[in-house]
Structure formats: structure tokens, C-alpha cells
Symmetry: C2
Subunit: 401 residues, 2 copies
């Protein structure tokens, strides 16, 4: 499938347009995803104690059996905006509900962009009815909606999986935005995932949480948790309406995992300023949480990130980040492998061809760090991050509110 011709699941429509929140008239700033019939919906939101008004409104409304729509504006996060922000977020869902003829509670809302500024209601007052008018089930409409979510993203992020489940073709389609490293004003990550399979409310919630744990919760650009992160899963049931067997549910879970992982990786790959896409495998721990702690310590270390930006196989920075991750382990249990070359084992460095490894890092965008811990357990995680470049600092320092 060409990337601009990705289908929506059956029973879903979408639209995207410019309504005037962003100043550039050629840039979309509004997106709408609609299920023709009431669908089950789950949401996972930022854990930040400071969270945007739309997060507060949407969080109250999921999980839900009768969801109809997700409306998203970009260019303004509607965060740190007090009681006016909450009123504005609810009003956005009122406007969409009026257009669709449903209850406001059946509409979810997300906002992303600048923090601490009130929404421009006059732009949205025109834009929201237009978004309803333009709803279509076409790949173009899906792409328009994906564009309407973008802030500082340089590429539009969509992913689709299709498979036969219980004799019917089931589609899982997702769109995400993530500004990654440049995040000049706390632009954040949002994703909407839709399927035409039928899922009861407990399953839609459980399956979304599992997918997010394996994808969006396994990426970090700069360790700064935003005020607006939201991932929403809608299960419409237009194609597959009966209850799924455990095996079918597992197949659907894999499709959802694949879509969210595609989108999470796309966010890392689009991290502006980044020169490397870094995959971190951590194995041999007592729990996945311990493996995650180690991966996150390595991923968030500015010294590891700058070394990789400089194509420097500086294993000491990686091993020492493992050491301070807060996991109870012995230094001699750590084995570190960088792009397939074992650099550290049994408490001592190994001889290796440093210039060849550095050259490999200079010419390849992908870097693979494998950390294996002996004598602790069998749990593992895979994690993704980007490097820290001069360009990242320039983008984030030279931006002025």
C-alpha cells in the first residue's frame, strides 16, 4: 500500500482541515475520526500531574461502550489554561456531538501544541462543523486527519494491518503525531487506533494497555513526560460483530501491537535533530520493569546520546548508566554488545576494532545496543530512542515563546 493510500477500517470516517489555530493557511490544525455506529473505546493518558484540559475531559469518558468520535486540534495544547480550558474542551465535544446527533459524552477530545494559551474559539466555531461536513471513508480523508494532528512532525504517521480473523478481513488503522526531540513547546504524542473488529469494553481497555506498554511506553526522546499524551483505541465491530475466540483476540492484539509499534518508531525516526535511531534490547532480568528501568537509564543519558551522535562506541557511558539504573545487579553480570560487537563482559572490556565500529556508526542511522544481565532472570524488553545532537539543542534553545 502506498503510504498515502492507507485505508480506514470499515465503518469509520475521518477528516482533516485548516481552521485557523495555526497561522499558516496551508497547514492543517483540525482532525476528526468518527465511527458510524457506537463503538467500544479505551484511552491511555499522560501520567503527568499537570495535564491538559482535553486529557481531563476524555479520561472521564473512557472506557466506553457508545463512543462515536475523537476530535483533535493541533497548534494549541489547551493545557495550563484553568477552568476556561475545561469549558473549551467540553464545548469542542458539544459541537461535534451536535453535528453527529449524539451525546457529548460519546465524543473524545485531544489537543496538542503551545501550552498556556486559550483556544481560539472563533476558528473552531467554523472548523468543527466543517470537519463533520467533510467526513469521508477514503484513504485521503484518513491522511487528512493524520495531517490535522501534526505539530512539528516532518512526516505524517499512519499504520495499517489487515488479516483474516474468524473468516472476515479485519483492519486495524492508526495515526499518531509526535514531535520528538524538537518539542519546542511541549508538543506531544497523540495516537488514535481504530478497528472494525468487535471488542467488549473490558477487552478494548486491556488490549490498548498491552499495546501501549509495548510501544509508546517503550520510547523516550528526552525523558520529559508531556501534559497531553493520549492514545485512544476505537473498536467499531462493523466487520466482525460476534465475540472473538481467545486465539482470534490474540491475533487482533498482535495487529494492534504492530500498528502502535509502527507509530511509536515513526515518532523516534522523526525526532528532528536526531542523527541515529537507537534500539535497546535489555534481557536477563527478574521483571520487565527492571529491564525497562535499565533501558530507560541508558536511553535518557545525555552522555550516551551525545556519544552516539558522535559515532563514538563509548561503552563506559552505557555500562555506567546500567549501573545507576536502580536495579540490584553485579557489575560482572553485565554483557554489552554494540552493533553486534561484544565490548564488555565479566567486569572487563574486550578488545575490538574501534575505528571500524565508529565508522559503522558514522555511516548507519540505526544503532543497536544489547545489554544482557547474567544470573538474574529471563525477562526482557525492547526500547527505542534517538541521539542528542547540536541540532536538538539549537531547535529547543533558539525557539522563543
Amino acid at each position: 500500500m502506498p503510504s498515502d493510500q492507507l485505508p480506514l477500517p470499515h465503518g469509520f470516517r475521518a477528516s482533516g482541515l485548516h481552521c485557523g489555530i495555526k497561522s499558516d493557511p496551508d497547514t492543517f490544525d483540525l482532525a476528526l475520526f468518527v465511527s458510524e455506529r457506537p463503538c467500544t473505546a479505551a484511552g491511555v493518558f499522560t501520567t503527568n500531574r499537570v495535564c491538559g484540559a482535553p486529557v481531563q475531559v476524555s479520561r472521564e469518558r473512557v472506557p466506553r461502550e457508545t463512543c462515536r468520535a475523537v476530535v483533535i486540534n493541533s497548534g494549541n495544547a489547551n493545557a495550563c489554561t484553568g477552568s476556561q480550558g475545561l469549558e473549551d474542551a467540553r464545548w469542542m465535544t458539544d459541537e461535534i456531538a451536535a453535528g453527529l446527533g449524539c451525546s457529548s459524552d460519546d465524543v473524545l477530545v485531544c489537543s496538542t501544541g503551545v501550552i498556556g494559551h486559550p483556544l481560539r474559539r472563533e476558528a473552531l466555531a467554523k472548523g468543527l462543523p466543517s470537519a463533520v461536513d467533510r467526513l469521508a471513508a477514503t484513504p485521503d480523508a484518513f491522511a487528512d486527519a493524520a495531517h490535522g494532528m501534526m505539530t512539528t512532525d516532518t512526516v505524517c504517521k499512519q499504520s495499517v494491518r489487515q488479516a483474516e480473523i474468524a473468516g472476515r478481513t479485519v483492519t486495524v488503522s492508526g495515526a499518531a503525531k509526535g514531535a520528538g526531540m524538537i518539542a519546542p513547546n511541549m508538543a506531544t504524542m497523540l495516537a488514535v487506533v481504530m478497528t472494525d473488529a468487535s471488542l467488549p469494553i473490558d477487552a478494548v481497555d486491556r488490549m490498548l494497555r498491552q499495546a501501549v506498554d509495548r510501544s509508546f511506553n517503550r520510547i523516550s526522546i528526552d525523558g520529559h513526560t508531556s501534559t497531553s499524551d493520549s492514545v485512544i483505541l476505537l473498536a467499531g465491530g462493523s466487520v466482525q460483530t460476534g465475540s472473538l475466540s481467545a486465539g482470534d483476540q490474540q491475533q487482533l492484539q498482535t495487529m494492534i501491537d504492530d500498528v502502535t509499534t509502527d507509530l511509536a518508531q515513526a515518532i523516534i525516526r522523526d525526532a528532528e535533530g536526531a542523527a541515529h535511531f537507537i534500539t535497546i534490547d535489555v534481557g536477563g532480568l527478574r521483571t520487565a520493569e527492571e529491564a525497562d528501568q535499565i533501558a530507560r537509564a541508558v536511553a535518557d543519558s545525555p552522555l550516551v546520546k551525545t556519544a552516539i551522535a558522535g559515532a563514538d562506541p563509548n561503552w563506559g557511558r552505557i555500562v555506567s548508566a546500567v549501573g545507576y539504573a536502580g536495579v540490584d545487579l553485579e557489575e560482572t553480570d553485565i554483557t554489552l554488545t554494540l552493533n553486534g560487537t561484544v565490548l564488555y563482559r565479566d567486569g572487563s572490556p574486550l578488545a575490538y576494532d574501534e575505528s571500524a565500529l565508529s565508522e559503522q556508526m558514522r555511516t548507519n542511522r540505526d544503532v543497536h545496543i544489547a545489554i544482557e544481565i547474567a544470573h538474574n532472570g529471563g525477562e526482557a524488553v525492547r526500547f527505542w530512542t534517538s541521539d542528542l545532537t547540536v541540532e536538538y539543542v539549537r531547535l529547543n534553545a533558539e525557539y522563543t515563546t
Copy 2:
């Protein structure tokens, strides 16, 4: 006192010289601090599970009632060097003990510099006896020793306090090294603090821990805990040999706190690449740990650090970092003040003169962030950090092992 004429406490001698670990013959790479008589000693070391051989050796030997010396080499951290590294660290203390005529266990050792390389024994075999030969009680000798600890530091870091305690002039003298942001090869922080007051072994340990908690444990450059951090306090008792009253101990504690705080701030001020020295006050929490968590989240956020580098009063980044610090609080309880201007209160931003504040940040090196949390408690901490500049990334990315 001119900064190059700071005194050692009575009963202490020091030396510093070039022995050949570093290639530049004009740069010192060896330091020795000696107490003429056995003194009480305490040490606080890195919490990293991966720690240098000298940390392992010194940690076993403190707290101690009969300490005589601290020997420090720079240019090589002797970390991740396996059993050979442990042998080398012990051998360094053997050589000094032989020169002083004491037990090896009465000598502590620190190393700082490149990670994962064996020490050059032939350089040290000549250098260690020379260091003993050159010991002197002069300010010049103290400055030489402080220079011998330096790696990528651009200024020598010493601090002295003198006061009358129980009728006698007591001196507290400290030296530290800290490469701060540039840390191109896990160069780390080390400090030695000496006093001629008398302190029993339990007091020397307790007082060092308190001083470190309020100074070195309240700074962060890049959140990367090194393998070699060590702070040592030696109490020689040459001047004040009787037992101190509670009030006198409190006065001495304040002097030690002042010296370690001076040295900790000097590390942040010397963070190469840094354009701003940032003081973060966090108050109104249930515990000091909660206040510390918030200060650290703000200090370690690359988005906060880059905003300050760009003289951007981007309060949304600071407030959102408070939100994800892991402390249970309400967004509406946060008040944020930047350089004396209140920017955020009761869940909403306040109007302020943005260009004036930005101009103030552009022209002043010092930035003050005050975060006050309502309705939670009365605990507060003060924390120091530096900003994240293009120069930091350049120094750490373009360095090649």
C-alpha cells in the same frame, strides 16, 4: 584570602605533580593529602552498581579512626578494569604507606579520568614516592594537590572556612574536581575536606553525610551518576583535641556545609559549555525527598535546560516537569517564580513582560527558579544545575575515545 593562597588545616600536608598518566607534561595528574597524625575519616561514594576499583578499596576502609592519607590520580578512572584494577588501586596505597611508614589500610585512594584502561604503573612507580617527598603544609602545596585532581576542569576548586571554636581557631579546607557538563569520558567529581578539629568516628561520618546531602547531592549536570564519585572528610584534631559541645559541633557542621557547598557550586559554575548557573528552590512539600524529586526533575529536563540556554522563560516546560516528578500534588497547588516574576499560580498563567524577562536571562548568568507547592507541607530544598547548550553536545559528541 587570594584564591591561590588558601591554607591547609594545622597538621595537614599536601602535594601535587605530573607523573605521566596524562600526556601533557605541564599538567598535574597526581595529588596527595596527608595528616601528620592518625585522624578520623569518613567517605561517601557513588551509588552506581558499576564503580571504580578505588571506590571499592576506599569504601572498605572508612569510617576509620587511624587514617593518614588520601592519594588521587587524574587522567585514568581505573574503572571497569577487573581484578587488575583492584590490584593496582591497592598497590597505590601500599606505595604511599611505605613512604609514610603506616599501614596500607590507613591510606584512601581515588582515581578519575578515562574509563576501562589499565593504570600506567611505571608512571605511578616514580610519581608516588615523589608525591611523598614533596609534601608541604603551605598554601602552594594545597593548590598543587587541588590541581593534581583536575581532569577537564577549567578552574581549580578549593574552599576554606576558619572560625573560633571552644577558644581555638579551627580550619576546614576542601578541594574538589568536577568536569561537569563536558565529562567527555565519565570524568567525575571527587572532593577531600580536612579539618584540624577533633571529631570522634561517629561524628565525622554523620557530619560528612549531612554536608554531602546539602551540597554534592543537590547538584546535577546531566543526571548521569558516575562510577567514581567520592567525597572524603578527614578530621585531624591538631588544633582542637578535646570533645566538642553540641553547639560547637553545630558550628563546625556549618563550616563543613559551607565548604562542600562552595565546592559543589564551583563544579556547576565550571560546567563547560554551560551559559547559565541555575538555582532551584522547591518548598512546601511533605518531605525533603519530595522537594528533591521535583528539583531533580526540573534540573534534568533537557527541555528546561535548553529553554534557559535560549533565554526563554518557557514556564510550561518547568510546570510540566514538576507534574511528572512523581510527587502526589495538584496542578492548582503549584506556584512558579522565575527570577522574581510569578509566572504560574492556581492552575493558570499570569501576565508578565516576556521580553524583559528574556532580556534579563540573556544578560545574567544566574537564573533563579522558585517552585512553591501549597497545601502539602513545609519541607524545602535548594538545588543547583546548569543549562544545556550546543557547546555541551559538541564537547561530548565530538570527543572520540
